[in-house]
Amino acid sequence: MDFKFLVDTFFVALSGVPTALIITIISLLIALPLGFLLALTRINQIPVLQRFAQVYVSFIRGTPVIVQIFIVYSSVPLFLTSIFEKYHIDKNVYDINPIWYAFIVFSINTTAIMIEIFRSAISTVSKGQLEAAYSVGLTNVQALRRIIIPQVLVTALPNICTATVNLIKATSLGYAMSLQEITLRAKVAANVGYNYVEAYIDIFLVYLILCSLVEYLFKRYEKRLSKYKIAHA
């Protein structure tokens, strides 16, 4: 075991954390509202949209992320080029930073998971809450924003936490898109001297620290959000 390498590479791996986090955050920013809206379409049984959401969720949840990555990474550029050509858009598709593909894949993926999380969370908030909001004169949007969503978030939070941790872990698959994230950086560093044992230990440590931290933050936030619940059972 090469301890100097172990320590040095730990920081190399650590330098990939921002990339992992940016992907995670962007994906969540897109997936949270979109997932919520699509969950509503399923709960309110809006004809075409709910069917779409159903198939979408089923496909995304039914296939490994890595396969989704491969598919998006190889098909999107082809697709874009043909569109650009057709409409004579003078833009080189291949100048796109691979991180955009990561945003696309992980947003698509996380949205599907959020739909399911919100669907079950929304159903735990009793319909009476919405009715009470109407009865005091709130509009649909006001009722959602002020009464329903805050309560939905509390029930959904543990699951959102799990999804976030899984998302962070899944960004490690970004190496397939040449993303300079934690895993890839560590492995590149390992290549010169084939220090793979050390590299994997570093990867393990970085994810363990990062994910535990995220989990801890979520727990604290959950406590704060659910202060109205703590009184008695």
Binding site: F59, R61, G62, T63, S74
Partner: protein
């Protein structure tokens, strides 16, 4: 786009991939078996009154949640033989499948512990009390009244975890076990990476179908087991 995309590669991939679904199922099946057993133990530790046991179970679950599967796989594949050596056991010639099953059992157990715990706690305590009050022993009360109801609650989450497991199982390829994912990689490598997209499409269809079938099976199971649970709404 047509220049690079040729649907015939998709059809061609199916017969090559399908035989390896067996391996995927083998890994998943064994991991579910052992993972569920371990999950029960962990859930019992979490529900029980022993503080130390609860702490251990919690730490275990957190650690496994935070470890990427591939890292866990390597930890088990290399760490376990190193550990075993201290006890004079040589695991170098043990089949790879053994390590893969251990890895995914460990991971599945963490998920199952939570599934089992929440299912158990969702059953009203009154059910148990009513059972002992009509003269059932504690064990009989659990076996006949509490567990059958908890099972219904646990089924959907169990199904979800199983789907996750099957997808994660694709990583087994990393230590050289050839399952359906591994076979796809081999096919693509055999073509020097040409027409990878088509192969991956075929692969994703296979995974999708598997997951739909599993979903349906669990849906049916839930229906069968939830006799007496169809809730009639009263306003």
């Amino acid at each position: 786009m047509e220049k690079y995309f040729n649907a015939s590669y998709i059809w061609e991939s199916f017969p090559m991939l399908l035989p390896y679904v067996k391996v995927t199922f083998l890994v998943a099946g064994l991991s579910v078996l052992f993972g569920t057993l371990l999950g029960f133990i962990l859930a019992a530790m979490k529900i029980g009154n022993n503080k130390v046991a609860r702490k251990i179970a919690n730490a275990y679950i957190t650690a496994l949640r935070c470890t990427p599967s591939i890292v866990l796989l390597f930890l088990v594949y290399y760490g376990l033989p190193a550990l075993a050596e201290n006890f004079g056991l040589l695991l170098d010639n043990v089949d790879k499948l053994f390590f893969i099953v251990i890895t995914f059992s460990l991971q599945f157990a963490a998920a199952m512990a939570e599934v089992i715990r929440s299912a158990y706690q969702s059953i009203d305590k009154g059910q148990f009390e009513a059972a002992v009050s009509v003269g059932l022993s504690n064990f009989q009360a659990y076996r006949r009244i509490v567990f059958p109801q908890a099972l219904v609650v646990a089924l959907p989450n169990f199904g979800n975890s199983l789907l996750e497991l099957i997808k994660e199982g694709s990583l087994a390829y990393t230590i050289g076990l050839i399952d359906v994912m591994g076979k796809a990689s081999l096919i693509i490598d055999g073509r020097f990476n040409a027409h990878a997209l088509e192969t991956y499409i075929a692969l994703s269809v296979i995974y999708w179908v598997i997951s739909i079938v599993i979903e349906q099976v669990f849906f049916k199971l839930e229906k069968i087991f939830s006799k007496g649970k169809q809730v009639i709404k009263t306003t």
